[in-house]
């Protein structure tokens, strides 16, 4: 029972971790909390559904098209709206991302209606693997593997690639990064595109694990925020760790205490964490300059 709950919690937790990573990447670069992250992932999952189910493309082609769409979506949102805001206040930036959220949700609701659909996925959800007495459904297993691989790739990208280094430099100090010859404006668009791709992968997995309908990302978005707060809004490893912990804790709570109050766990974790250690598990302590 315990192992079972932990394993299925891990699968969900890695999805939260991906969403939280997507959020933290944007937050670190431009100090914008992206409330539209969930809806960007949702609409990408719907595009995957459109390509795979309605137009019947093969899975690799469909995946590629979806990821391209996600990248374009992120870059376009950054280029068309975020960049135009002059001297935006914090509330202003949050309102802009909330505006995206509503627009994307409206488009998805208009195009696909309120019906619940199931995501076409090459891995069947009812078959299971058996590891030493632990039963794992195939879809959970592959979610864990793919998410882990993606997280590792992301870390390598940020640590060793030229673009990743440029992004880190922009995060640290925009002005100096520009002086060093980095096109920071491009970096912003890239950041949004990469974040949108990561979100899209998470969205596809969440759609496959649950159902595909326009409000599906409301809850996971909240969980992703909780993970980011738990791990530290300014730390990439923190976000990944936070998501994993949240997924497992939440699943254990659902299994042992109460199933119906499962989604309150995220709120409790946010409040507790913010009261005890606002910078998060792995975040650096943040001191505001006057």
């Amino acid at each position: 029972m315990l192992g079972q709950l932990i394993v299925s919690g891990l699968a969900v937790g890695f999805c939260y971790a991906l969403l939280a990573l997507a959020m933290v990447i944007i937050y670190k670069t431009s100090e914008v909390l992206n409330f539209a992250q969930g809806e960007m992932a949702m609409i990408s999952a719907f595009v995957a559904f459109l390509v795979l189910d309605t137009y019947q493309f093969s899975f690799p082609v469909g995946l590629l098209l979806t990821l391209l769409f996600a990248a374009a979506l992120g870059a376009v949102l950054e280029f068309v709206f975020m960049r135009q805001a002059k001297n935006p206040t914090l509330i202003g930036l949050i309102i802009i991302t909330l505006g995206f959220e509503m627009i994307l949700m409206g488009i998805a609701g208009w195009k696909w209606g309120p019906d619940q659909r199931s995501m076409p996925f090459p891995v069947p959800s009812f078959e299971t693997y058996n590891f030493f007495g632990l039963v794992i459904s195939k879809i959970n297993f592959w979610t864990i593997i793919v998410c882990l691989a993606l997280i590792v790739v992301l870390f390598l990208f940020f640590q060793y690639s030229k673009l990743g280094t440029a992004m880190r430099a922009t995060q640290q100090n925009q002005l100096v990064a520009r002086l060093m010859g980095i096109r920071t404006k491009w970096i912003f668009s890239f950041t949004w595109a990469i974040s949108s791709i990561i979100g899209a992968v998470a969205g596809m997995f969440i759609a496959a694990l649950t159902v595909l309908d326009p409000p599906m990302m409301m809850d996971p978005l909240m969980k992703a925020f909780a993970s980011a707060v738990l791990g530290g809004m300014t730390s990439l490893p923190g976000a990944a760790l936070g998501g994993t912990i949240l997924g497992v804790v939440e699943n254990l709570f659902g299994g042992y205490v109460s199933m119906s109050f499962k989604s309150v766990v995220a709120f409790a974790i946010i409040v507790l964490m913010l009261c005890i250690r606002p910078s998060g598990l792995l975040g650096k302590h943040f001191v505001k300059k006057v």
């Binding site: 914090l90 202003g92 309102i95 509503m102 696909w112 909240m222 709120f267």
Partner: protein, 353 residues
Amino acid sequence: MDIKRSYYEDIELFRSKTTLFWSLLFLIFLIFLPWIVAQTHVLGLSVYLLNLIIIHAIVAIGLNILVGYTGQISLGHAGFFAIGAFTTVMFVGQLGIPLILALPLGAFISAIFGFLLGLPSLRLEGPYLAIATMGFGMAVTTIIKHTEFFGGRMGLQAPKLYLFDTALKDIHFYYIIAGVAVVLAIAAIKLFKTKVGRAFIAIRDSDIAAETMGVNLSYYKTLAFAVSAFYTGIAGGLYAFILGFINPESFHIIMSITFLAMVVVGGVGSIMGSIAGAVLMTYLDVKLQAIQDIPGLGAILVKFSEEYMTMAGISNVAIIVYGLIMILIVLFEPLGIFGLWIRTKKYWKTYPF
């Protein structure tokens, strides 16, 4: 021109005879408005829609006290709205308390929750506070949904109200709601001419500076949350009775966002602006829900929907327009309708220049 010569000039409600005259005229207009609407159906309004607009105006004023005047963001006001609605209905339906007492009681409970949510705001700011309040809003609806006491997933039926053996209808509620709204709006305007209101504004401008001036941050920040929650709680109680039926599903995060949108569109930091924002956004929302009935544009959209989209989801156009308005306001007119008003006023005052 606008020089204030004494302290009492600063705190008086009506700055000139002209303002007093127009305010009285507006009040008389409010009294006759339902009659005009019932007779002419001007702009497709109905008394029910008027009630909804005024309730949203109360919420917008309450939220503006928090967002516009104290500088704390909240994405959880649907939670306070739900608390106000459910507690008021419980007080009236289960305990038989008259509405006039139940409303402030429900709002008071909402204010207590506001105080509790205000506590973490002492350590948080900006994005962190947005996350925490959003979590609060979601937690409230989840808890209500899973508590049998509050009717669970099915929600609650608001009891019918009687005054001298006549069942109250929309038109009666209009006068109750409008009366409450006028009182609350004046209270809000007056609030910012007192010590408490000035402390709120000082916190918005710079909390560190305010603290060094002797403003007790923890007291005033939690107070701002409590006052804001009180306003929203009253609005929630009234909302339950004009709707006749409340369901936890309807108090979702989108509702909190639309409240915030009203404040931003109306004008951050302006009571009159928040009323204007609530009027505009509620009217647009209700009218766009039935977009296919709008002459001309409706037919085109229906055709477009049948061709490329789905007919079942055509009411989602309302959400898209809402989101677009929010973004455009932030990009081009950060002070919202109030900013437009200020600009036109300035233009005419200094006309030839």
